[in-house]
């Protein structure tokens, strides 16, 4: 514990997709069914080309400038089951291969567990949790869940220190998913709330507070992932704790983010906390982890996470939401008969440059992507070895652009064009997060990791970078 006390949260980051479902109008679309669906707030909706890996990258990219000792990828909805996403994430972040890595899965609590392990080990780590979970249309989860990611960096000289913790492990099943039931199966709500609050939340929080030497009433802010709504209110009433639960605010504004939910809520709690405040982080799933932190100053990245909630674009068509969440499958016709097969040997040879978006600088200083034996620069006429230059974190400008409505895209139109980086690199790129008026020549762009190709028949994805506008619209004003 002594070692962990010297460690804490060095930084935090989050990512939410641009698109939002306004639950109220959406519920009206299903009112005929009589199903009791949430009507307030928004849920985030991932683009067709976003998945837990791409969102984990976005959440963690600001935390991985200096290589950590370990990189951990956390998700209950990871695409691959025998291909470590932490390894792909490591290459996407252009981290050295000697950085340890691991995937954590099978519980919404996996993120807080990984964080606690890092803190107890005194290990400087980046822990990135992300979810894009399959849900059945008509289920409460279809409206309640959201897509998104959160990441933390542990390290010395922390802005928020761990001062106490407690873990309870229990095979308590509030809901589950399985290979044969990939969408969540929830059990009766009152049973879950009563049991979870009395047998898991309250004992774990009391124990964590005892370890920290404080009463629960001393908790100023909470990030408590709830198994069902109002769990925190019930626990807090019993604990005489008046702290707001930022996970509840997050669930209303963006949806339940699964394994990323307590970590994203923690970012919101840290953004609201004042120096000296105690903050509770509670991860729930097959038991719970309760962690008490003491905040000494603003945690880097927390304020930015709070701003993410108010940025986005509302989906106007309910069927688009259904399509993006896989609830309906449109027949896109012959245009969609487009299948690519990625080759492992090519990925082994060039994959790091691709997913890391690493170009090469020639002997004149010009940068190009991809690299080539003979540089593209016309003043050079022979082979040379190019120096690595990462383009993922550079801004760029549109040279030419179109909104292609003939080409197949699962969420048309297909925006693509030539993109010019300030360092000389020019790349033909796909665009994402189309602004209301479309893209225009001269627009400035930032880079986002996305799925490049998806081969459903072979169950494989490749990833590459796409270009997005620098800024997002404010939600409701888009």
């Amino acid at each position: 514990m002594e070692n962990a006390m010297q460690f804490g949260i060095a930084g935090i980051g989050g990512y939410l997709p641009l698109l939002r479902l306004d639950r109220g109008p959406a519920a009206k679309e299903l009112a005929w069914s009589g199903l009791g669906l949430a009507r307030s707030g928004y849920r985030t909706v991932a683009d067709w080309d976003e998945d837990p890996l791409t969102m984990a990258l976005e959440a963690s990219r600001s935390l991985a400038g200096d290589p950590p000792q370990a990189l951990r990828f956390v998700s209950t909805s990871a695409y691959f089951t025998d291909r470590a996403q932490s390894a792909t994430l490591l290459e996407a972040l252009a981290l050295p291969p000697m950085v340890r890595s691991a995937d954590h899965a099978n519980s919404r609590r996996a993120g807080t567990t990984a964080l606690l392990d890092a803190l107890l080990a005194g290990s400087t780590e980046v822990i990135a949790a992300a979810e894009k979970r399959e849900t059945q249309v008509g289920s409460a989860a279809h409206f309640a869940y959201g897509d998104g990611a959160a990441a933390l960096r542990t390290g010395p000289d922390a802005a928020a220190r761990l001062v106490g913790h407690a873990c309870l492990t229990s095979d308590f099943i509030d809901r589950y998913t399985s290979r044969e039931h990939p969408s969540p199966y929830p059990y009766e709500e009152r049973f879950v709330r009563d049991t979870a609050v009395q047998q898991l939340l309250i004992p774990a929080i009391r124990a964590a507070c005892a370890a920290a030497g404080i009463e629960p009433a001393a908790i100023a802010h909470a990030a408590c992932a709830e198994p069902v709504g109002n769990s925190w209110k019930a626990a807090a009433r019993a604990l005489k704790c008046a702290a707001p639960n930022h996970c509840e605010l997050l669930a209303d504004a963006a949806g339940d983010l699964g394994a990323a939910h307590p970590l994203f809520g923690f970012g919101l709690a840290l953004a609201a906390a004042q120096p000296g405040d105690r903050v509770l982080l509670l991860g729930f799933g097959s038991g719970c982890d309760a962690l008490i932190f003491e905040v000494s100053r603003a945690v880097p990245g927390a304020a930015e996470m709070a701003t993410l909630l108010g940025q986005g674009e509302t989906i106007r068509q309910f069927t688009r939401f259904l399509s993006l969440t896989g609830a309906i499958g449109l027949d896109w016709g012959m245009r969609a008969e487009f299948e690519q097969k990625a080759q492992a040997s090519v990925l082994a040879r060039t994959g790091r440059d691709m997913i890391g978006f690493i170009g090469g600088r020639d002997s004149t200083g010009n940068v190009q992507f991809p690299k080539s034996a003979i540089p593209v620069n016309p003043v050079l006429d022979g082979p040379e070895v190019l120096e690595d230059v990462r383009l993922a974190d550079k801004e760029a400008t549109i040279v030419s652009i179109t909104a292609d409505r003939l080409n197949f895209s699962p969420d048309p139109p297909f925006d693509f064009g030539l993109v010019q980086f300030d360092n000389g690199a020019r790349v033909l790129m796909e665009m994402v997060n189309r602004p209301a008026g479309g893209f225009k020549v001269g627009d400035r762009l930032r880079m986002r990791l996305r799925i490049k190709s998806s081969n459903a028949r072979l169950g494989f994805r490749t990833y590459f970078w796409k270009a997005a506008p620098l800024l997002r619209p404010r939600l409701g004003e888009e």
């Binding site: 012959m334 990925l347 991809p370 080539s372 040279v399 030419s400 003939l406 693509f416």
Partner: protein, 399 residues
Amino acid sequence: MASGIKDKVAIIGMGCTRFGERWDVGADGLMVEAFAEALADAGIERASIEAAWVGNALDDINVGNSALPAAHALRLQQVPVTRVENMCATGTEALRGAAYAVASGAVDFALAIGVEKLKDTGYGGLPLRTKGVQNDLWMPYGSAPGTFAQLAGAYAARHGIAAADLKRAMAHVSWKSHQNGAHSPKAHLRSAVDMDKILAAPMIADPLGIFDCCGVSDGAACAILTTPEIARSMGRANPVTIKAVQLSASNGWEMQFGEWDGASVPNTRAAAARAYAEAGIRDPRAEIDMTEVHDCFSITELVIMEDLGLSDEGRAPADILDGRYDKDGAIPCQLDGGLKCFGHPVGASGLRMAYEVYNQLQDRAGERQRGKVDLGLTHNLGGSPFNSVAAVAILGRLD
């Protein structure tokens, strides 16, 4: 210094099928149809063909790869047949190969034939499965209109032209080709379309509406080449000859190096400059009587007019709207309807262009005949504006 190909090769026979949705015939039948017309035109026997170049761009989804589909279809008896592919510039590439064979003295009679049978495949200008396993990892595969649409925004940005003004000039390009196509018996689309309909058409790739785009077709076209001396010995006193055939391919500069502004096609300029030099043309605006250019999209033809030096920089929209390239304009373009209306069986298009010029040079174009034509230019463009193969050929009479 190379002396070039000017007047070293004569065209003594050409054939071209009706383009369109040829549900009635396969690729082999299309080749036979074009070849039979060319043989009759040339007045030679099939056995005289000593070498052949067959152009087919999308071999894996229609005709099939290698020399064999053409050798089988035409029953060429143990003749060296070479299959060539250079995207939409494939037809001119076949012509170039056959012309070089004759010019070198390797053979007396060579055949260039282009064919595409796309309507059986559902192909509509969309990207194919792969552009190589390495490119697949990063390159976005937009549709053909998607790549060429980008010329419009870049052109407007370079010249400060309003989008609506550019769109109107683009619409005139298509309007003119529909007017001309209506008089081409072998054209795929043979109806005139008014400007309002063109301007109001559904968007395919901003700012290209459906009438700004050519479709794809089934079809074949071919040419039989020999030397001018042999042509004369066969009774052609003043045969059609190749004045120039040039090709330029991107090396990645447009796509990867930060100099090009996307508002022109540098390979067209390079191929045209070399072709003019090869043909001895100093003032193309005064010397070229007609053009058949690669109007895959209206904006492409507009930009080509500047790339070929026929319009001043930034003046193509005004020249187009002034009727400079209409059938009765100073330098008519697409007298046969072009890709837009005659059709675009990809591998055949370059030879279809040559077919129209060949007929115009010999006063054989019927109601489309543009009076006396001494020099005609074909321009055939493969790929995209940022990664292209451009071919320019100039045809005339020997004397």
